[in-house]
Amino acid sequence: MRCLHRLGLKKMNQSSGSAGPARARPRFRNIEIGQILQYRLPPAGIVSILHRLSGALLFLLGLPLVLYLFQNSLGSQASFESYKAFVASPLAKLVLLALIWAYLHHFCAGVRYLLLDLHVGTEKDSARKSALAAIAVSLALTAIFALKLFGAF
């Protein structure tokens, strides 16, 4: 049984048509946390895991922070001043920028998923391009927000 299985694998590798000797495919069994760094995800996979990460970040940090800032910004003169002082600090700006990226990535990836649900762009090539576009557009918009936040314009 075992020999047949190996023969089958060898045959499959040879018939794949690529030049050179077939390289042994990495096998992942009993996946450990350290192996995550070795994963080579396609663009759609990167968009997917970042969609989850950005969503978690927005829930854990974004919601309470934005509600706090929202309350201060809409309150009395004194609370508005404390809001302005808070967002003026460089550390707060970095945190806000991370949240802005998370929101923009979640937004762009979300629009992509809604379109995929409507069977728009489900072919391999266009799905790959839209995944790259989601990453690129959210990063470009984040860069514009960064320039605004740090006073370039």
């Binding site: 969503g55 927005l58 829930f59 309350q71 809409l74 508005f80 979300g110 809604l114 649900d117």
Partner: protein, 116 residues
């Protein structure tokens, strides 16, 4: 039985799936509305900011969007728990904490919006 399942029926598991997408559309539309409102604002001042959210229309729209946000967050966070947290007791505890937190956020948002 499976052939009779419809989107508007109850407890087929489809409600969460469709709710996640509808709340996403609501949030996307609100994001664009808010973005345009900020872009046409001459300068960011306390008066202009309070004026924007002081209008009843904007208060209602913002609260609707926030309710959509909390529903959306609940489904997303629950999906994360379902993928990574296997023991029932821990998962249930986290789910209860999440719901309590989100309901608290809604009350906080209502309080903020209606005390302008």
């Amino acid at each position: 039985m499976t052939t009779k399942r419809i989107v508007v029926g109850a407890h087929y598991g489809l409600l969460d799936w469709i709710a996640q997408r509808i709340t996403a559309v609501v949030l996307a539309v609100y994001t664009v509305v808010l973005g345009i409102s900020l872009l046409v604002m001459p300068e960011f001042s306390q008066e202009a900011w309070r004026g924007l959210f002081g209008a009843t229309f904007m208060r209602v729209l913002t609260l609707l969007a926030f309710l959509a946000l909390c529903w959306h967050a609940w489904i997303g966070v629950r999906d994360i728990y379902m993928d990574y947290i296997k023991p029932t007791a821990i998962r249930l505890t986290l789910q209860v904490l999440t719901i309590v937190l989100l309901v608290g956020y809604v009350i906080w948002a209502i309080n903020t919006l209606w005390s302008i």
